[in-house]
Structure formats: structure tokens, C-alpha cells
């Protein structure tokens, strides 16, 4: 096992983590950055795993950010997954060439987000995946999820995926956005002129898609070996679905459907940072002081999506802020930084106002939880249906924790990462509690399954 003593460990190599690492390194702090991907960049600045030069402007920006961080002396550990952290801040990661133990003086958690998937009939069919997975396929492998793709769900990320697929020469056959387009969206956009260009570009890209609907929702994926059709129905402003007016889109071979993102809070939760629930921020997120990135735990900072879904611009800003304040707290000479930090905080507030507003506008529709039928599998690892979960609630338990122990939903290999939000929504719908009261599956060591041999190696001669 390698042992690395460092000032600052940054976990996550997306826009937030890269900016944080660079800012701290520039301030003279020893920084190590650990990232699970083959190459740093994260989801947004995703880099080709073979090292091939980026094809998109976004990818080039990422490559530049990586190069800058490297130039400042940040030590990168790619392909290394953090699986444990202890109260003394020791962090264990597992890499292809063996485990690493980091003993940092401070940690910045910039672990990003994962797709918010919600179960519906047919969602386990081959060919059905999240927009994030479709985007990864396109960016990493240069392939589309299918020849005839339906892109559905809600939120601006759908437009980004559409853009990627159009560029690949595989425009989706249909884009089904649940949020009805209305003056509220236009008014929100009007307040943020800085975002007009991006919006215009995304809208122009979407023109290549033959069928575009807003105020419609996919209620079912149909197929036997693979998805071949979807049922869609109108959904109104209050989130009610009108199934009487359902239609079918046939002749498809893939469905990308998702409801925005959820902060990846496993590590901050394991480190016992304070978390809060806000649907506009993707649900549970790590609470930070926005101007410094400090969490409720001393020596632990968080930046980017883990602090609430907001996108790449706030991620970069919050990353830089966290890097600067961690460096200052670690004793770097940061005199003269006050001006920059104040300006960053101001920019972050503005960027957040935009993204928080979008988050509220594109909140998943109220009826989303009604899509899963009794026989729809909710927990895929343990194959637990909605009826199983409802029966447990009828027997007198409640919340995510209650569903977990009485049905095993969330007890399998993914430990509830995929189904947790869905179980919370079902708990809320079935027992009248709020999604916040429903809670989440608390992450435990190990954060990811790791071979016993590695566990033994990393704990063998450790102190208590």
C-alpha cells in the first residue's frame, strides 16, 4: 500500500475539484487529487480515456484546466476510488495498481452528481438508460445509445445530451420534456443575459430533432428483448399526468430518461458533514458556507454539485473558493486574496441564482411517483417491487430506513445509490411524510465494494 502524506486531498477531478486543487496549489499548498475516472475531467469535462485530444470545446476547456492544475504541481491519482474515510481524516482509495492511504490535513470533497432515475414500467429493459449514461457513451466511445433514440425527462441537461447526439450525427427522434414551456422559463432566462448564448446554442442544436414536445412525460417503455416503443402522456403545470390522452412513439431502439441530478454525498455523509434536503438542489446535499466551502466538519470542505446541483459554472467558482479558503486555513500566505474571494463569492451567488431558479422550474413533476406500478421493480439489485415497499409501509414501518430493512430495497450491491431517492418518494407518497423525513441510505465503509484482500492490506498495520 502506498502512503501519501499531504496538505490537501481533493476528491473528484471535475470542474470543482480541478479548480480547487489548482487554487490551493498556486497558494503553495501540497495537493493530491484523487479521481475514479481513467482521466480527470469528470462528467462535464470528460476526457478521452485513451488520451486522444478532445473533440469539443467543452473537452478542450477541461484539458486546459487539467494541464493548468498539473503545471501548479497537483499530484493526480486517476482511476482511484475512495472507499473509506476515518474520523482522523485518513482516506483509503483503491487503484488498479493497489490501494493508497492518504493522510491529508484537509479534504475538499468535489464528488459531483449522479443521474436522478425514477422507476416506471419498462425502465429495466435493455436500451433504457439515463441521459448521463447516454452522454458518457457518446463522449467516451463516440457511440449513440441507439439508432433511434428518445430523449426524455426534465431539465436543461437533456438539451446538452441532444447537442452531443446531434454532433455525433445521431439526433434523437424525439425530445420529451416534462416541463411545459411557458413565460416563467423565458422570464428566468431574461434575468440572466450571461446565459443567452448558451441557451441559444442549445436551442439551435435541438432543431435537428424531428419531434420536440414539452409538457409530456414518458409513462412506460415497451419491448420484449429491448425497448421498441414508449407511451407518453401530457403533464400539466401542477405535475398531473393526463393518461386519457396517451400516445405511443414506436420504432425506437433506445430511451434516455432522467430527472436531473442528485449530489453524490457519500463521502461528505461518511465524514458526518451536515446535509439538507432541497428538491431544487437535487435533494440531499452537503451544507457549506458558500463563501469558503467549509462544511460543518473542521478540515472538510465541499465544492460543486455535492453542495447542491447547479452546473459547471458554479462548480468552478465554488471549487476555486474552497481551494483558496482551505489553503488559507492551512496556513498559506493568502494576503491579497480577499478581493478575489469577494468577487468569486459574488459571481457564485449570481450563478447560483440562475441554477437554483432552473432547479425549481424543472423540478420533477408531482405525479412522477405514480408511474411505478405495483409490479414495477424499484430496487434493481435486490429486485424489490413497489408493491413490496408499499406492503412494508402498510405493515407499520416508514421512511427509507424502514423500507430497507423490511424489503431489502437498498441492501444490494449499489447500497441504494440508484433507488434511494425513488424509495423516499414512494415513502412520501404512501405514508404522507416529506421526502426529507423519509431520509436517505446512510453511506458506510466501504463506499464501494472492495476486495477483502485490499481491505486487509489497507488496515493490516493501521493504528486504531
Amino acid at each position: 500500500m502506498r502512503r501519501i502524506d499531504t496538505d490537501l486531498l481533493v476528491v473528484g477531478g471535475g470542474p470543482a475539484g480541478l479548480e480547487a486543487a489548482r487554487a490551493a496549489a498556486e497558494a503553495g499548498i501540497a495537493v493530491d487529487l484523487v479521481d475514479a475516472g481513467f482521466r480527470p475531467g469528470g462528467q462535464y469535462w470528460m476526457q478521452d480515456p485513451t488520451g486522444a485530444p478532445p473533440l469539443s470545446a467543452q473537452g478542450s476547456k477541461g484539458a486546459a484546466a487539467i494541464a493548468k492544475a498539473q503545471a501548479t504541481g497537483v499530484a493526480f491519482h486517476s482511476g482511484a476510488e475512495v472507499f473509506a474515510a476515518f474520523p482522523d481524516r485518513r482516506v483509503l482509495a483503491n487503484a488498479a495498481d493497489g490501494p493508497i492511504e492518504f493522510t491529508p490535513r484537509a479534504i475538499i470533497v468535489a464528488t459531483g452528481a449522479h443521474d436522478r432515475a425514477m422507476p416506471f414500467p419498462g425502465w429495466t429493459l435493455p436500451g433504457v438508460m439515463t441521459p448521463g449514461a447516454g452522454q458518457r457513451l457518446a463522449k467516451l466511445g463516440g457511440t449513440s445509445a441507439g439508432e433511434r433514440v428518445v430523449l426524455a425527462g426534465s431539465g436543461p441537461f437533456l438539451m446538452a445530451v441532444a447537442e452531443t447526439l446531434v454532433k455525433l450525427g445521431k439526433p434523437p427522434v424525439a425530445l420529451i420534456e416534462a416541463r411545459p414551456t411557458d413565460s416563467a422559463i423565458i422570464a428566468h432566462l431574461a434575468r440572466h443575459p450571461g446565459r443567452w448564448r448558451e441557451a441559444a446554442r442549445l436551442l439551435a442544436g435541438a432543431r435537428a430533432i424531428p419531434e420536440r414536445r414539452s409538457g409530456w412525460i414518458v409513462t412506460e417503455a415497451i419491448g420484449s428483448e429491448r425497448v421498441t416503443a414508449v407511451r407518453i402522456a401530457p403533464v400539466d403545470r401542477s405535475g398531473r399526468i393526463d393518461r386519457a390522452r396517451s400516445e405511443t412513439i414506436g420504432g425506437i431502439d433506445a430511451l434516455l430518461v432522467g430527472w436531473g441530478f442528485r449530489p453524490m454525498i457519500e463521502l461528505t455523509a461518511l465524514l458526518r458533514c451536515r446535509h439538507e434536503h432541497d428538491p431544487a438542489l437535487g435533494g440531499w446535499h452537503c451544507v457549506t458556507d458558500r463563501a469558503s466551502g467549509r462544511t460543518s466538519v473542521e478540515g472538510v470542505y465541499a465544492a460543486g454539485e455535492v453542495t447542491g446541483i447547479a452546473g459547471a459554472v458554479p462548480a468552478r467558482l465554488s471549487g476555486r473558493l474552497a481551494g483558496l479558503s482551505a489553503a488559507a486555513d492551512l496556513g498559506a500566505d493568502t494576503a491579497g486574496d480577499e478581493g478575489e474571494r469577494a468577487s468569486l463569492a459574488e459571481q457564485l451567488a449570481r450563478a447560483r441564482a440562475f441554477s437554483d431558479g432552473l432547479g425549481r422550474l424543472y423540478a420533477p413533476p408531482a405525479d412522477l411517483v405514480t408511474l411505478a406500478r405495483d409490479d414495477t421493480v424499484v430496487c434493481r439489485c435486490e429486485e424489490i417491487t413497489r408493491a413490496d415497499i408499499a406492503a412494508a409501509f402498510a405493515d407499520g414501518t416508514d421512511a427509507v430506513a424502514g423500507a430497507k430493512i423490511w424489503t431489502r430495497a437498498g441492501m444490494g450491491r449499489c447500497q441504494g445509490r440508484i433507488c434511494g431517492a425513488a424509495v423516499a418518494a414512494i415513502a412520501a407518497a404512501e405514508t404522507g411524510i416529506t421526502p426529507r423525513e423519509a431520509g436517505f441510505n446512510p453511506p458506510r465503509i466501504p463506499l464501494r465494494p472492495v476486495p477483502l484482500s485490499v481491505v486487509l492490506e489497507t488496515t493490516r498495520d493501521g493504528q486504531e
Binding site: F86, A401, M411, P449, V450, L452, G462
Partner: protein, 386 residues
């Protein structure tokens, strides 16, 4: 209205762990109107973390009659209740060296005298029972009557049986204090109002002492950390419950328990003597200790070296309730109408049905089919006075 608010009942059971669930079932079946009040989710505290071995092997000589009764009761419940993965798989306790023989022989003698049939096996005989146990053990004791249950489902089934007999279950409602009227118990206070009842049974595990104190009752229960690990699901590879031969010094001298759940996950823990542990309490539960992870994995791989590439999936920590002699406090205590059933000492799953029987017998004015003086909540006061 949520169930429970402003309710009246004959008996309130505080805590829906395996003990509270068993007590509620016993009281409801004997015709009492029961309300079970749980601060979290039913079975979510210690019971939901349990390895839930139901057995008599290397436990407590004085408790053997009760333990035997409990094992039979669990088997009987399994034959009438919907499935809770009851499996009479037997238990092996391995010896690493000859010096442990004395302890093994002693236990075998005690249990044989009580009508049980444990034996000592050489490593080859062990492997006929547990083929993957290829590690260099010296010998193992074999107790064929041990069983395991799924702890989540077992609590759920007990609660279902209680509910079928008319009990009401209220989840996520902490009881904040006991209610007294005219010197006797009158019910409980909750954040959402009182629940009136002439009988209150405290089955609150490590939280019991705090609640009893609200009625001026002092209980010698302290919390003790218990930890466990689980691998991902693998094909059937462990058939029995595998433990370490009990050494002198009881639980504090360390223990091992390894078994495979029906889900395929391998559940295991090893606590060695003098392990330093992170600070915590039932209300502020830390993560597993690093040394605990090491000792548990090392012991598992010592016994089952072929498992080295299996993935670790999860860990968990709970605080169990411990009394000075590791036996429950079960029976009446303090004001009339107040009963205690807590202080599980780390093996409360098997004994829960017996504790429920004691409470039901006290409430119903009957004798119990085994000694109940062993569990008298006041036994330490009497010793101090003598």
C-alpha cells in the same frame, strides 16, 4: 391523524426491536390492547443489525433451561408465521490450539448435562460439515441445534402477529417520559401527545435506562459498541454459524461470528480483547473501527482463505444494552404497572421470546416455565444491600 395520538391502551410497549415486538405479541395474544411505540423504524436499532443466531451453545449455564425453551419457541413460531428464513443450520466454534480444549470440554459437559448434544470435532470432521473452512484450525465444537433467522423479517413477523391480535404499531414517535398518577404508571408522553395505559413495558434497548429515570427508576444498563461487516452476495459457501470457542473472560475476551445470509451476503465480525474503539453513543453512532475491520477480515480469511477476492460491501455499528452480569433486566420495577425488558448483553435475539413470556406471565399473574429471578431488575440492589 397519525395512529397513536391521544390513544388509550391496556399496555404500551416502548421500543419495536425484537424484544418489544415479542412482548407486544405476547401481551396482545393474551387479550390486552397494546400500543407499540417506536422512536425510529421498527427493528431499525440493534435488532436490525443482528446476526440473530438462535442457540444454546456457550451461552450461560444458569440460563440453559430458558435458552432451550427459547429455541423451541422460535421453531414453533417459524412453523406458524410467514417465512422469516428460520434455518436450523447448527453452529461450529473453532479452537486454534490445544489450550482451548479445557474450555470446550467444560461447555460440552455443561450442555450435555442439560440434555443437549454438542460434540468436539477434528478438522476433517469440521470440513465435512463446512467444506470451505480450510484454515488451520485445531478442532471445533459442534452444536447441531443452533438456528439463524433473518433479523429484519423476524421482527416484522412478530409485529404482524401482534397486530393480528389487535396491537397498534406507531413508528418514528419517541417516548419522552413516563406518566405517573397516584404513584403508579399511567402511560407515556410523546412529542405528539400522551398515550394512556396502566401498564408500560420498557423494551428500549440501550435507551431504556434514560426513560426509566423519568419515573425515578435507576437501571444498571450501559451501552456497548457492536460492529459487523458484510460481503457482497456470493453463491452458497457457508452452511453453519461459525464462531470462536468461548474463552475465559466472556464477551470482553473477544468473539467471532461468521455466517451467510440467505441473500448470499457473508456476515462476519471478530472483536479481540482490548480493542480500542472510537468514541460514540447510541445517539451518535460512529463508523466501524479500523482495527475491528482488520481483525474481522483476518479471522474470516484465516478460516476461509478462498474468500480473499470477495468484495466487502458494508459495515455497521450499534450500541447494545449491557448489564453487570450480561443478563436481561426483565420484570416489574419501580412504580406499579412499570415493567422492564432490556439489557440484552449482546445475545438478546434468542432470548427475546423468553423475556416476552416472563412479562406476559407477570402481567397475567402466572408462573413462568423457567427461573425468572435471574432477570429481576432489582437483583443488583439486593446484592448491594446484603
Amino acid at each position: 391523524m397519525k395512529p397513536g395520538a391521544g390513544m388509550k391502551a391496556d399496555a404500551v410497549v416502548v421500543g419495536a426491536g425484537v424484544v418489544g415486538a415479542a412482548v407486544a405479541r405476547a401481551l396482545a395474544v393474551s387479550g390486552r390492547r397494546v400500543v407499540i411505540v417506536e422512536q425510529g423504524v421498527p427493528g431499525g436499532a440493534v435488532s436490525g443489525a443482528s446476526l440473530a443466531c438462535i442457540g444454546t451453545h456457550m451461552m450461560d449455564e444458569d440460563e440453559l433451561p430458558l435458552l432451550k425453551w427459547c429455541c423451541d419457541e422460535w421453531a414453533a413460531f417459524a412453523s406458524v408465521a410467514p417465512d422469516f428464513e428460520y434455518s436450523r443450520c447448527g453452529q461450529l466454534r473453532f479452537l486454534k490450539q490445544e489450550s482451548e480444549r479445557r474450555s470446550a470440554d467444560e461447555w460440552i459437559g455443561i450442555e450435555t448435562a442439560a440434555g443437549l448434544s454438542p460434540t468436539l470435532l477434528d478438522p476433517d470432521a469440521v470440513r465435512r460439515i463446512e467444506p470451505e473452512l480450510t484454515g488451520p484450525i485445531h478442532a471445533a465444537t459442534w452444536s447441531p441445534n443452533s438456528a439463524v433467522v433473518n433479523p429484519f423479517l423476524a421482527v416484522r413477523r412478530l409485529l404482524e402477529a401482534a397486530q393480528a391480535a389487535g396491537a397498534t404499531l406507531v413508528s418514528r414517535r419517541p417516548v419522552t417520559a413516563l406518566r405517573l398518577a397516584g404513584g403508579r404508571i399511567a402511560g407515556v408522553e410523546t412529542a405528539e401527545g400522551p398515550i394512556e395505559a396502566g401498564i408500560v413495558v420498557l423494551a428500549g434497548g440501550p435507551w431504556t435506562a434514560k426513560l426509566a429515570a423519568t419515573a425515578g427508576v435507576d437501571l444498571p444498563i450501559v451501552p456497548r459498541k457492536a460492529q459487523c461487516l458484510a460481503t457482497v452476495s456470493v453463491p452458497p459457501s457457508i452452511r453453519t454459524v461459525v464462531g470462536a470457542c468461548k474463552a475465559e473472560g466472556g464477551v470482553d475476551a473477544g468473539y467471532t461470528q461468521i455466517q451467510q445470509a440467505m441473500s448470499g451476503q457473508i456476515l462476519f465480525n471478530t472483536v479481540l480483547e482490548g480493542g480500542v474503539t472510537a468514541a460514540g453513543s447510541p445517539d451518535d453512532i460512529p463508523e466501524v473501527d479500523r482495527a475491528f475491520i482488520r481483525d474481522s477480515v483476518a479471522t474470516l480469511l484465516f478460516l476461509f482463505p478462498a474468500f480473499v477476492q470477495i468484495d466487502l460491501l458494508r459495515s455497521w455499528v450499534r450500541y447494545e444494552a449491557v448489564t453487570p452480569d450480561d443478563r436481561f433486566l426483565t420484570g416489574p420495577a419501580g412504580p406499579d404497572g412499570l415493567f422492564i425488558a432490556a439489557g440484552d448483553g449482546g445475545t438478546g435475539f434468542v432470548r427475546s421470546l423468553g423475556m416476552a413470556r416472563i412479562i406476559a406471565d407477570f402481567v397475567g399473574g402466572r408462573e413462568s416455565p423457567f427461573r425468572r429471578d435471574l432477570y429481576d431488575p432489582a437483583r443488583f440492589d439486593m446484592k448491594a444491600a446484603a
